[in-house]
Amino acid sequence: MMDASAGYVTEDGRQIGGVLMEMKNITLRFGGVVAIKDISFDIREGEIRAIIGPNGAGKSSMLNIISGFYTPSEGGVWYKGAPRPPMRPYEVARMGVARTFQNIALFEGMTVLDNVMTGRLTHMHSGIASQALWWGKARAEEVANREKVEEIIDFLEIQAIRKTPVGRLPYGLKKRVELARALAAEPSILLLDEPMAGMNVEEKEDMSRFILDVNDEFGTTIALIEHDMGVVMDLSDRVVVMDYGKKIGDGTPDEVRNNQDVIDAYLGVQH
């Protein structure tokens, strides 16, 4: 359907680029349990790529492999055309991969601003001493980074809670702050682990709008896991469907919707 280098054009007319990241024959085992079995798929530059599947399908494990938190037992991750060696998560972050978590992982006692600033960590290079003294390079760097953070605060419309400790915020806003922190890293690929979980309809609509805007405005490639099928089908350009650690479908939302294996997986068939 598509050739690896040229990319394709989406229904709404966006140009999707070449392959940014490719999973090649990934298998992941925890002792005797096989969480992921021989899965391959790619993520292209500028697209919104969803990974869906019933509970326990191995979606989060897959995301953890992409983010470098797990090292696959077999197979490998290719990033920008070259195999990615096993890395520590912070090294992956430096390569331009940022993520949000299913169970919000923010610093509850810190303000929204400070939380988002932590997303800039990979862009700070001054030493502890000069940072503590707030002097010289550290100062210039902080000002530059603060500017970037303020742009993101403006973009996600969280100005009113800039100085509010995260612990005091409602759930939906915390999710937005987490997205802000991930964006602050200026990632080339953004991983969202169930960005809409536990939200009401209005919050979901807001979040969908922000995800589309991020993709549109910054050209960020987005890979997301989500349970809400409506959201997935509306947002994504291409969808990977997993079930029991295997890939059972891959394609545009329409293709996936009409895939018999996918229908079976969701409606339930004897295994």
């Binding site: 709404d12 303020e150 100005q159």
Partner: protein
């Protein structure tokens, strides 16, 4: 209308005032907006340059003299510049309410025939795109915030900054044309067209000339000694005439600085950071701030709470007198100064009123307690009375003559007269030119001599010369003995008690007044909780003897207050009952904006009104209610009808002036 041109010289348009400000106040701040967490500032010179680029850009896009440009969005410097840029090219700015839905917007855009729309963000752009097919004259839209609009079809869409850039690039060819158009503007050119919100029927476009706006801005600025260096926070809708007068009219006349909040949600924080010296808010905002303060003080430690209560009591006693410059003993002054240091100062800072020199409230009646609270802190809060057709100002309160129950003396240059039936008429340099495309309404409202009917009934207090508004003229009636019946006046007094949510007063054509009362479930429920009074439903709480006793004391207090007013003393409430259900818009008893529909209530509860007048001690009633999901049900109740004590009245009766 007699207006002297000499006073203002050639300053007969806002572009002319802008040019003067750039010359005289060049380096002073004209606009500030908080963006990216920092207050960005534009001086008058910067502002003039921005407006010039935009005006050139508009000419470049083909705007003609006499075109209408709709402006939709929240308060931002760029949109204020759009208004003056529109004037500079000979077009007429039409600011619209940003929360209007697409349908309302379609009506207004079609009515004024706007060829150009300047919109703040994607939300507004989407609304206009939705309706553009039905708008025959609409051609181009300019938007400010490009977020989310990258993929939009840009054949008729233009980004604000690009319009400015293109205008700037073509300045050599277009500047002569801009100067030619700006030079033509005079006092009779249309300054702005504002649509009235229209509680009845379709909105009407009020055409206001440069004379209206500039004369009014000049008079009102002088009245309150506004000057360059003052600061205002622009946060009320740009489509509202008040915002135009404050943020453009007075700002351009005096050269003061207009500050725009970062977002509607950050308004309170921004208010505190800016500390405006001139401030306007509807009563609702003052009320909310007071409630929030009081709730937070309830949670404070006992020592702090004691200090607060002690000094606030002192402030209530002498604060307003000190503010009005009346004589107060040295001891009291000393204590007030200590209070300023310990309580009032920090509190004012917290509320963002630390520097307020002049504050106004208008729009509806403000509770005397709320009003006095702010004044006792030393905040010079005053009331004004006005409307769009008057370019805001009809009457306002001079410093030192402020009370919660009057709206002040006629503003400079305004003549006010009271008609036979009590309706207030005015005539001023600010009186509007006409309703756009509606000569009939214009004739109905404004007579040949320029007198405009306000639709409100009021009278001048003989002792002070201050105007008091009592009600909408059409609601004011007469009682059986011919004395004045002003239901809303009494209802407002009742509603100032936190326990009373709604009140409906009857008495037109009758020999005495009676009332329905709705308790406020939050306030009364809170009270019941603190006093260990168990209740299972709204109905039960509303019928509780102690609640009735409390409400009775409120009614009697209102009677005493009403009795002091010899003209309205007939409106004392003889009997009342507390309704068994909350008046509800779903049941048609209130409008969607929560205004009482007197006639419908009187019909629906005719049995209860009967009981109020026939002397029976209680009445059994059945009422149909509509639940939120549309189902209907019945409420049965036996209501107690209570007699309220009347206060003695001075027998003398004075007719309206």
């Amino acid at each position: 209308m007699t207006v002297t041109h000499a006073a203002s010289g050639a300053l007969e348009s806002f572009p002319a005032l802008l040019e003067r400000n750039a010359r005289m106040h060049g380096t002073k701040p004209a606009y500030r907006e908080k963006e990216f967490g920092i207050w960005q500032t534009w001086t008058w010179v910067d502002t003039a340059a921005e407006i010039e680029s935009l005006a050139l850009g508009l000419i470049n896009m083909g705007i003609a003299e006499g075109d209408y440009i709709a402006i939709i969005g929240r308060n931002r410097p760029y949109l204020y510049w759009s208004m003056v840029a529109a004037q500079a090219v000979g077009a007429i700015p039409v600011p619209l309410y940003q929360d209007a839905n697409a349908e309302e917007m379609a009506y207004v855009l079609d009515h004024c025939g706007a060829r150009f729309v300047i919109a703040g963000d994607q939300e507004q752009v989407d609304k206009v795109i939705d309706i553009q097919d039905s708008l025959h004259q609409f051609e181009h839209m300019i938007y400010l915030d490009p977020k989310g609009m990258r993929k939009y079809d840009h054949t008729r869409l233009h980004e604000y900054s690009h319009v400015q850039e293109q205008g700037h690039a073509a300045r050599d060819e277009l500047t002569p044309e801009l100067h030619r158009r700006t030079a033509k503007l005079n006092y009779d050119s249309t300054c702005v067209m504002l649509y009235t919100s229209g509680t009845t029927g379709k909105p009407k476009g009020v055409v206001l000339s440069n004379r209206n706006m500039i004369e009014t801005a000049k008079n009102s600025s002088e009245f309150d000694h506004l000057k360059a260096g003052d600061e205002v926070l622009a946060y009320l809708p740009m489509a509202w005439v008040g915002d135009f007068i404050f943020s453009i009219g007075q700002a351009y006349w005096t050269g003061f600085c207009v500050n725009c909040p970062e977002s509607p949600e950050t308004m309170m924080t921004d208010l505190r950071e800016i500390g405006p010296s001139y401030y306007f808010a509807p009563p609702r905002i003052f009320e909310t701030q007071l409630t929030q303060t009081m709730i937070r003080m309830e949670d404070a430690g006992p020592t702090k709470k004691k200090i607060f209560d002690h000094f606030m009591a002192h402030a209530r006693k002498v604060g307003p007198a000190i503010l009005d410059g009346k004589s107060v003993s040295a001891m009291d002054r000393l204590k007030y100064a200590l209070g300023e240091f310990m309580v009032y100062g920090p509190l004012k800072n917290m509320l963002g009123f630390g520097r307020v020199r002049v504050g106004y409230t208008a729009g509806e009646a403000i509770g005397p307690e709320i009003f006095d609270f702010y004044r006792s802190l030393g905040i010079n809060l005053k009331q004004l009375y006005g409307q769009t057709e008057a370019s805001v100002f009809i009457t306002q309160q001079p410093d030192g003559e402020v009370r919660s129950d009057t709206v002040g003396v006629p503003s400079p240059g305004v003549e006010v007269r009271i008609a036979e039936n009590g309706e207030v008429f005015y005539r001023s340099p600010g009186t509007f030119v006409e309703y756009y495309k509606n000569p009939e309404s214009t004739r109905d409202t404004k007579d040949a001599e320029g007198w405009v009917a306000t639709g409100d009934a009021g009278f001048f207090e003989p002792s002070t010369g201050h105007l008091r508004i009592i009600d909408r003229a059409k609601d004011v009636g007469q009682m059986a003995d011919g004395s004045l019946f002003a239901p809303k006046y009494v209802e407002n007094k009742l509603k100032f008690f936190p326990n009373i949510l709604e009140a409906v007063v009857f008495g037109a054509g009758k020999d005495r007044c009676t009332a329905f009362i709705n308790i406020d479930l939050t306030a009364v429920g809170n009270w019941a909780e603190r006093n260990n009074i168990a209740y299972a439903s709204y109905q039960e709480l509303a019928g509780h003897p102690q609640v009735l006793a409390t409400i009775q004391s409120h009614v009697e207090e209102v009677n005493r207050s009403v009795a002091q007013d010899e003209m309205l003393s007939g409106c004392q409430i003889h009997r009342f009952l507390v309704l068994h259900k909350e008046l509800d818009a779903d049941d048609g008893e209130l409008t969607r904006t929560r205004k009482v529909r007197r006639k419908i209530i009187a019909e629906k509860f005719a049995d209860l009104v009967g009981a109020l007048y026939d002397g029976s001690p209680s009445i059994y009633t059945e009422t149909e209610v509509t639940y939120e999901d549309g189902r209907k049900g019945q409420i049965r109740a036996t209501l107690e009808v209570r007699d309220a004590a009347l206060a003695s009245v001075a027998p003398q009766r004075v007719a309206a002036e």
